[in-house]
Amino acid sequence: MSDGFSRVAGPPEPRANSELIGHDEAENIFLDSWGKGRLAHAWLITGPAGIGKATLAFRLARRLLEKNAPQGDPRSVYRRVAAGSHADLFTLERPVDSQTGTRRGEITVEVARKVAPFLHLTPAEAGWRVVVIDGAEKMNRNAANAILKIVEEPPANTVILMTCEGRHKVLPTIRSRCQILALRPLDASLMSSWLCRHRPDLDPKQAMALAQISAGSPGNALRLVDAEGLGIYEEMLSLFANLPCLDTAAAHEFADRISSSRGEDSFRMFLELFASWLVRLIRVIATDDHSVTGLSEEDVLVNRLAARREGLDRWLNLWEKAVRLTAQTESFLLDRKQVLLSLFDCLEGDDPMNCNPNRF
């Protein structure tokens, strides 16, 4: 019943996604506690972006609502949850700005205040009332306080399912009243076989690389595929292949391409891939864990750089710089090409052995 995937190109909306992979354990924790009659009234589902938090939340919501549907027709519950038209389900998410048509940056108190009136009315189908808060970390201060009041004194027959990219990003006072379901990254083989199923055009090697760079998050992997992230990633690796030596001409050419013609998406994608690659590199250096040896081009590069035994600081500083520049590029409209060149410059470092006399 994978309507979502056959219908649209990108990942399906979580509320309409009937496929969930890799989170049976979390789902069973919920179902078990329900089965035992000890269902917590508030749940916090945590994990990185694209891993399936909201998909799990809506799936659990459907289980609750199906149980008490008088018609007992799970298909009908599925359709109505997907359409946002189930009278006993309230979804709180970042509101869409009516002018721009895009989602606003935060969950505002105006929309959060609608949760209480929903819970002040009886359930329509004589069963559970379910509130899904998608992106609990996006609630602004007042919105979070409004939700805190509800979580503190929840009405009967109510389950609140929150998703959040990190458990520490929600108010501790809310967190402490929630049962936490931490979703784990999918393991690489599960991911790559799943990817091959949904993107038959990928070859297994690419699927494996995607599994690695998407940090075990299927949503992230699909996004990388659709935004041609894989190509950028491969280009990045070949550009870095001789680090700490960098081919100046190639670097300029790459920076030109990424920063201009194909628009913002490629540029943002590159910075993201670059930062996540640095994180993996730093992890290897910090833990001295070389277990990834030789599986891929990236492993070869990472192991070689790690073996140089340079200070961790340098890479950490570079990572910080990359993250900072990413944010500043958007807010201050920095020159994208210069941002890239400045990062590449740092990548070479102050190595006296630097083989390239023509520094940027």
Binding site: A69, P70, Q71, S76, R79, R80, A82, A83, G84, S85, H86, A87, P95, V96, A116, P117, L119, H120, L121, T122, P123, A124, E125, A126, P155
Partner: protein
């Protein structure tokens, strides 16, 4: 789905259901009205997920089927069609389009699948009874003004409807905003003696009240702890209820107010209205000074000056003074149908009771205002 229907029949029915539909909703399907055609009837359903209104009307159904289409737009179109016309709905090649024809006019409307439409609230509700439309109208009209607007006390945001068995069987509605309280009774319908007390929220009260205007017979009601349904012949209203406990209002109705004043309602309202013109702030406080046989209504404002007017009343207790919000006084007095009004007081700090001396089945409690 393929059918034809008289424009007037369709328009009236759309008018009934469309007002439930929220004008600004982010969920597309909730802007739509559901149309179900079968066995010579067209059924129209609209909902805001808390309240559903459905109506079934006669139509010539050529091909049974169902779809949903934007409610307000459909209503607007049908309203503008020429009177006496015949409206035809026809399917199109595209699943997400339906065509409406009337005379030479052709309208192609967008559709969403019925499976995405909110479920009918059609579960069986345990308690059933019928009530004359006039009785329900009375229960609503004389109490709805007192419904609280304060969301933190959500359990007061509706009318509390419940049976009273002693001293005699009655169906009672109560509403209060904490400053005043309205309590109105009608005789208890058969089968309503064991219904649960329910709090009907404001929007449901408003929609139900609109439907009573067009209706004169018996309304079939069914209730459970969580839902209420009212059937007006072909129109059905089903609503969620307020999930809360209405306060024990009996405790705030004074039983021993012995200072009783009786007066002509019309004259009293005129005087209060005139005098309170001077009280400029939004409380519009007026003072009632009572002496045997006479009432003086006065108001004072630091900015504007003062006003007072006397009127004859039946009153033979001790002289006293009591202050009220003029708006509340006028609203309460406006609920009374008879010519005479009685106001039973205790002192300037305790609740007073206003009622029609000839109607034992409606009373209004008002807390005084003090300066």
């Amino acid at each position: 789905m393929k059918l034809t229907i008289e424009r007037e029949v369709l328009l009236k029915s759309l008018a009934h259901v469309q007002s439930v539909v929220e004008r600004r909703t982010t969920i597309p399907i909730l802007s739509n009205v559901r149309l179900d055609a079968s066995d010579g009837r067209l059924r129209l359903t609209a909902t805001d997920m808390n309240l559903t209104v459905a109506e079934s009307v006669c139509a010539s159904v050529l091909q049974a089927g169902a779809t949903t289409t934007p409610a307000h737009m459909l209503h607007e179109i049908v309203r503008k069609l020429p009177e006496g016309g015949e409206v035809a709905f026809e399917p199109t090649e595209q699943v997400d389009r339906i065509v409406l024809r009337c005379g030479d006019g052709i309208f192609s409307l967008s559709c969403l699948p019925v499976e995405d439409f909110p479920a009918d609230f059609n579960a069986e509700l345990a308690h059933r009874f019928t009530i004359p439309a006039a009785d329900l109208r009375r229960l609503i009209d004389k109490t709805r003004f007192a419904i609280s607007h304060e969301e933190t006390r959500y359990y007061l945001n509706g009318i509390y409807l419940h049976p009273v068995i002693e001293p005699k069987p009655l169906l009672r509605s109560v509403a209060t905003d904490g400053h005043r309280l309205a309590q109105v009774d009608v005789s208890l319908p058969n089968g309503a003696d064991s219904i649960p007390g329910v709090i009907v929220h404001r929007k449901a009260v408003t929609e139900i009240r609109k439907l009573i205007d067009d209706f004169d017979g018996e309304i079939a009601c069914s209730l459970s702890d969580t839902m209420a349904r009212l059937c007006f012949d072909s129109v059905n209203v089903t609503t969620k209820l307020i999930d809360g406990k209405f306060p024990d209002y009996g405790r705030v109705i004074p039983a021993a107010n012995d200072k009783i004043m009786e007066f002509d309602g019309h004259g009293f309202m005129n005087v209060v209205d005139r005098v309170s013109t001077l009280a400029t702030d939004r409380t519009r406080s007026v003072k009632l000074s009572l002496a045997p046989g006479e009432l003086e209504v006065s108001a004072i404002s630091p900015e504007s000056g003062s006003a007072s007017e006397k009127l004859p009343v039946l009153y033979d207790s001790d002289a006293m003074q009591i202050g009220f919000n003029a708006r509340y006084l006028l609203e309460l007095a406006g609920q009374l149908d008879g010519e005479r009004i009685s106001l039973a007081m205790n002192d300037a700090a305790s609740p007073s009771i206003m009622r029609d001396p000839d109607d034992n089945h409606a009373l209004f409690v008002l807390m005084p205002m003090r300066v």
